[in-house]
């Protein structure tokens, strides 16, 4: 790592060589380059904006590990990881367009404000050409909006709300991760297979945007199977003890509890539900079941044995058997000593996808990069054949349905893959009502 902050490396040497210190050169940034933070030196700076404090800090740390690995691979260090399996061969391990990849990091604190402040400092101070990362939809939407205004590319990290590529989609923003609608679409057939088509569901939903879109999606998908929805109860984000929400469930006539929660909310609500013995109960002559639409390894760890047998969906899992996954798990596991999380995989893939798009476009200009990404079809990044849809900048790929393992071999085997739902089943129309109401707008190069 020689130079991290070489935003204006060439300009600097030019100024020193020419006018020396005698006369300052004054001009506005906008007139100097064709787009925001055009890399002019031998390096290009990416901004990794992940939660480093607050409840998602571990997820953020894993994202950061993946980013560091991706940078290594892009710069031709290490074993190359998924660069070897990626269907596009534009990247050659010599940085991006011959420029060495440097990066800066920041703390989103999982707050829209702090995340935007952090992203702004990357753009204004460090000259980052692309911002990526994050662990919640609120932050993703907020930073995506910022990047649109500033004229840089945003490659979303973990964000699952429909809104990110729905009503809040932006021309400069791209999401590799799947979304609430896809979770629901993938889960529904499996739920039918496992639990039948005559079920009554009770929803507990985190009372904020992501929770609502998740609940809306899963309710629609399960009702299409013939399930009924007994109730949908909104729970405060700040709630830690869900006992008073869970206690009435058994007596409501429902025989399935759907927990539209993520992170700490999910760990606590699931733990509470299991404490109340819901899993051992029989209602309507059927075993009572719990469903958690969005799973993550870290949540599974936090919930411990409560997770056993609980069904949910994931964007990716390290236990997949394709060669991309194998390559990624190998280089990540060798470097850090444990397998990567789905957050790590999506962040790694996003970095590679961005770099590849720049190479193919032949320019760092966000508009050119966006054009290269839109409608791009690829394979070999762990998710099978994938399409970056041009209409909404959402990736379409297979979705995993997973289940908490009954007898995990070790702490890395807490979940097992039940089914890989093919991409066709989770694809939706860009004008689907759950995603309507927004527009990509024009791409903004910032200058």
């Amino acid at each position: 790592m020689s130079k991290l902050l070489t935003r204006r490396g060439l300009l600097k040497s030019g100024a020193v060589g020419g006018a020396g210190l005698a006369l300052p050169t004054i001009f506005t940034a906008s007139s100097a380059s064709a787009f925001t933070n055009e890399p002019t030196g031998g390096t290009v700076t990416l901004g990794f904006n992940v939660p480093q404090s607050g409840p998602y800090a571990d997820e953020g740390a894993d994202e950061l590990r993946a980013y560091e690995l991706a940078v290594e691979h892009l710069n031709g260090e290490g074993d190359g990881g998924m660069l070897n399996t990626f269907s596009s061969k534009a990247l050659g391990g010599n940085g991006i367009m011959g420029k060495k990849v440097a990066y800066v990091t920041g703390d989103t604190q999982t707050k829209s404000d702090a995340a935007r402040a952090s992203a702004k400092s990357m753009i204004e101070k460090d000259g980052a050409i692309m911002i990526t990362g994050g662990s919640s939809s609120g932050v993703a939407v907020a930073v995506q909006g910022l990047c649109q205004e500033a004229g840089v590319i945003f490659m979303a990290g973990l964000t699952h709300s429909n809104d990110t590529t729905g009503k809040d989609k932006k021309a400069n923003g791209f999401r590799h991760f799947f979304n609430a609608y896809m979770s629901a679409a993938a889960l529904a057939p499996v739920l039918e297979k496992l639990y039948g088509s005559d079920r009554a569901a009770y929803h507990l939903t985190a009372d904020y945007t992501w929770g609502w879109t998740q609940q809306e999606s899963i309710q629609a998908a399960t009702e299409a199977l013939g399930w009924t929805t007994v109730n949908n109860v909104l729970t405060p984000l700040a709630a830690t003890d869900f006992s008073s929400y869970i206690a009435p469930v058994l007596n409501s006539g429902a025989d399935v509890l759907v927990l539209n929660h993520y992170g700490g909310n999910m760990v606590n609500s699931l733990t509470n539900a299991v404490q109340f013995g819901l899993r051992e109960k029989q209602v309507n002559g059927k075993n009572f079941e719990i469903v958690v639409p969005l799973y993550s390894e870290l949540m599974a760890k936090g919930a411990g044995q409560n997770i056993k047998g609980i069904v949910g969906s994931q964007n990716w899992d390290w236990k997949l058997s394709d060669e991309g996954t194998a390559a990624f798990v190998k280089s990540f596991g060798t470097k850090y000593g444990f397998p990567p999380s789905q957050a790590a995989q999506t962040c790694y893939a996003q970095t590679l996808l961005y770099a590849d798009a720049v190479e193919r476009a032949g320019s760092f200009n966000p508009c050119a990069v966006g054009e290269a990404l839109a409608g791009f079809e690829f394979d070999g990044l762990g998710n099978g054949k994938t399409l970056y849809r041009a209409d909404d900048h959402q990736c379409f790929k297979d979705v995993l349905v997973v289940k908490g393992a009954e007898d995990p071999q070790d702490e890395f085997h807490l979940v097992e893959i039940v089914e890989v739902t093919p991409v066709d089943q989770v694809t939706y129309d860009p004008e689907h009502p759950m995603f309507a109401g927004g527009a990509l707008g024009e791409c903004n190069p910032g200058a």
Partner: protein, 343 residues
């Protein structure tokens, strides 16, 4: 009717958590006059005592099993906890299973020690300083403690299950002749409630029936006079601080199975416990306990669908709304004494 009974039960449980934390906080507030923003951190450290004991008990000898592979394709590591190899698989497994109750034994001396060190090393220099300075220093301390825990245990929640014997729930309603599954209640929450009742009772008995307690109560009522009597208040204050830390710590240990702890759990409770203490009234121990249960039960009621459908979002604000109403109708909270922290 059943729903109300159910929510009262839930409320009692929430309330016992609030009351336990508030009890320690008001001991420090009332006796020492210190605004302790690090009190939540003490609760959090208590919970991590449970995590630590669990981690220690599950320390494992690693052997390789060539028949299985790990995620990198190497032979899988089989972990056998040392306690299992030392005491035999049954006793070993039982020890691990009972790690949370065992952690209480570990937590009491640790928390007393932490409390005493905190008081002697830091807080005592701040007795005569403005409340603002106390807030700043204890808030700083809370952050430091939190970050240290985060550094060693990570930010993720750590599952600390209750012993098998207490898993699941029992049918309270069926006992009262109602339909089955109407009023169910987890065993561990019953344990928690009973535990809270015992601790609260013990603290009250200690303050009521011992000479030490008498002096402390006198000190809460009028610090200057007690000081004038030539009684060594300093030493007693140190012990009080240790006691408050131990109460918070034990509350944390027992809470760990209810919600898997993470490093932030103390901050989540901090604001709430201040509200509880103040609603109870400054300088009043019974007030804090009463307010804890009252707010716990109100919170549970507010989360009932019937009530939420009338006033959406009421469960988001009920505690604060109740606090405002109580403080406006009763100037010094439920049982507060005049002149304590009113300036």
């Amino acid at each position: 009717m059943e729903a109300i009974l159910l929510q009262i039960l839930n409320g009692l449980d929430k309330g016992s958590a609030y009351a336990l934390i508030a009890l320690g906080l008001t001991l420090i507030f009332g006796t020492l006059g210190v605004v302790n923003f690090a009190h939540g951190a003490l609760f959090m450290i208590g919970a991590f005592c449970a995590v630590t004991v669990q981690k220690v008990l599950t320390l494992s000898k690693i052997t390789l099993d060539p028949t299985k592979t790990d995620f990198l394709g190497n032979p899988a590591q089989i972990k056998t906890p040392y306690v299992e190899s030392w005491f035999g698989p049954d006793i070993g497994a039982a020890l691990i299973d009972w790690s949370v109750p065992l952690a209480i034994l570990f937590a009491i001396p640790i928390m007393l020690l932490i409390g005493v060190i905190m008081e002697r090393g830091l807080i005592k220099h701040f007795y005569r300083r403005p409340h603002a300075d106390q807030i700043l220093v204890t808030f700083g301390l809370a952050i430091v403690l939190q970050e240290l825990i985060k550094h060693y245990f990570g930010a993720n929640q750590i599952a600390t299950p209750a012993p098998d014997a207490f898993r699941g729930s029992f049918d309270f309603g069926a006992m009262l002749g109602m339909d089955p599954n109407v009023v169910i209640y987890p065993y561990w929450r019953l344990v928690y409630f009973a535990f809270a009742a015992v601790i609260i009772g013990a603290v009250f008995a200690f303050l009521q029936f011992t000479t030490f307690g008498m002096v402390v109560r006198a000190g809460m009522a009028d610090r200057e006079t007690v000081g004038l009597l030539g009684i060594n208040i300093d030493k007693r204050f140190t012990i009080m601080f240790g006691l408050a830390a131990a109460v918070a710590g034990m509350a944390g240990v027992m809470y760990a199975p209810i919600n898997s702890p993470n490093y932030h759990i103390g901050m989540d409770f901090l604001v709430l416990s201040f509200v509880v203490v103040v609603v109870g009234g400054m300088g009043s121990l019974p007030g804090a306990v009463l307010a804890g249960f009252l707010l716990g039960i109100l919170e549970s009621f507010a989360s009932m669908n019937e009530i939420k459908s009338i006033i959406p979002g009421i469960d988001q604000i009920i505690i604060y709304l109740a606090a405002i109403i109580i403080l406006l109708t009763r100037p010094r909270g439920l049982m507060g004494r005049k002149g304590v922290m009113e300036e």
